[in-house]
């Protein structure tokens, strides 16, 4: 359910770290809680993000929810497919990254939850 190739936050984001780069998305649990996602607002490329700080918003039909960055660094890319098809976040939450971040402190990821720990959290 919650793949072990990545780490998770208590705010329901995931990050896949590859060298000094992390890809960030939201979890299946988060998309279920939100319901149908209709709008995703992401930080501009080049902007800095900090671990645990809000860096964007995800809106469903009913609600607005903040996106918290699981790691610190600089945004190097954002997934343009999500801008036109926000429903991807519902249909494939673990396969749909939102941001690519150049990590400023790769060790930060150690503080995040494993798939097993996250599964326990949202049980």
């Amino acid at each position: 359910m919650y793949p072990s190739d990545r780490r998770y936050t208590k705010d329901h984001e995931w990050v896949i770290v590859n060298g000094t780069e992390g890809r960030v998305g939201i979890t299946d649990y988060a998309q279920k809680q939100l319901g149908d996602v209709v709008f995703v607002e992401l930080p501009d490329v080049g902007r800095g993000v900090s671990q645990g700080q809000a860096c964007g918003t995800i809106e469903s039909v009913k609600a607005v929810s903040e996106l918290y960055s699981p790691i610190s660094g600089k945004v190097v890319d954002r997934n343009s497919a999500v801008a036109t098809k926000p429903e991807l976040v519902n249909s494939d939450p673990h396969g749909t990254w939102l941001l690519r971040v150049e990590l400023s402190d790769p060790k930060e990821v150690e503080s995040l939850l494993t798939g097993e720990q996250y599964a326990e959290l949202v049980k």
Partner: protein, 377 residues
Amino acid sequence: MDHAATTDQLRKTPLNAQHRKLGARMVPFGGWDMPVEYSGIVREHMSVRTNAGLFDVSHMGEIELAGRDALRAVQLISTNDAARLSVGQAQLSALTTPAGTFVDDLLVYRLAADHFLLVINAADIERKYRWIADHTRETGDVAVVNSSSRYALLALQGPAALSILQPLTGVDLQSIKYYWFAHGEVAGVRGMLSRTGYTGEDGFEVFIPPQAAERLWTTLLDAGREAGLVPVGLGARDTLRLEAGMRLSGQDFDETTTVLEAGLGFIIGKNKQEDFIGRTALEEQKRSGLTRKLVGFEMTGPGIARHGYVAFAGSGQGIVTSGTQTPHLKKAIGMAYLPIEFTPAGAEFEIDIRGRRTPARVVPLPFYKRPQLQPGV
């Protein structure tokens, strides 16, 4: 998600167990434990626009007024002209304060010459019942009864509603005109069928005894399955009514906004003879002119405006009362009170979306109007 402790204090409709069985996500709404969605707001919304949806709206309140002076009492407390109602006919109306602001909006059904059924919104039913009873105490021969617990209310809405319901009843549904109703049996349950709704689609609302609610609910869902009927929660009910330009009590209007400001002048009886609470204030406001009014808008910049967001219009301000991304029209729309000079269609203004001023434009209501039936097809 942390409602577990309070769920026990919430009121439950007779269909509560059915909603849970269907896997609905439940939320507190107006003191009731209600389904917000079953299969997803977008899917439910689209089902109502293209096929049909079934809603449990048993949380709505029913107040009955009966007696020789029942009409006088209804005329006193509501803005519309109930004298124009035939037996078997209903109208949208408002309960108003002396200032012409809203206690609630409501549907007035004329069950008999001297017997009316008022359907009011779910929040504070008891308070509104007392308000009606208190204000009609001096009105002669009329009994005011809160009969909310005697009714369950199901709404079957969508282009396929009539064809799903017709095989289950002997009542000729085609002969019931919009905002009229009839009594009869549906699936063996004695009830009242009203051609009304809160979605902008054709459909019926069925008043039945609570003990028959589960039976009718499951019978309807089974009967409509092939026609694409799905259960629909409050989430899609909200997006459907917003697309249809229908105001939500307590959100788009309340005790701080008048009937005229809410753009609902058409529910004030035009040639109504009798006085009603708030009449003087509303006539005075009409004479002196409005300073603000509720309008429909669509976002022309990125983002979704939500209830409570502040609007900037010239040197003045306004307030968003409803807003969402509509599933059917696929754009961000909403309603807002704006300074009167910004209320004509086409007026440009801005809405503060989490600190960013985002452009929006006034558009005529409703956002969505159902296609007319093609005769002979």
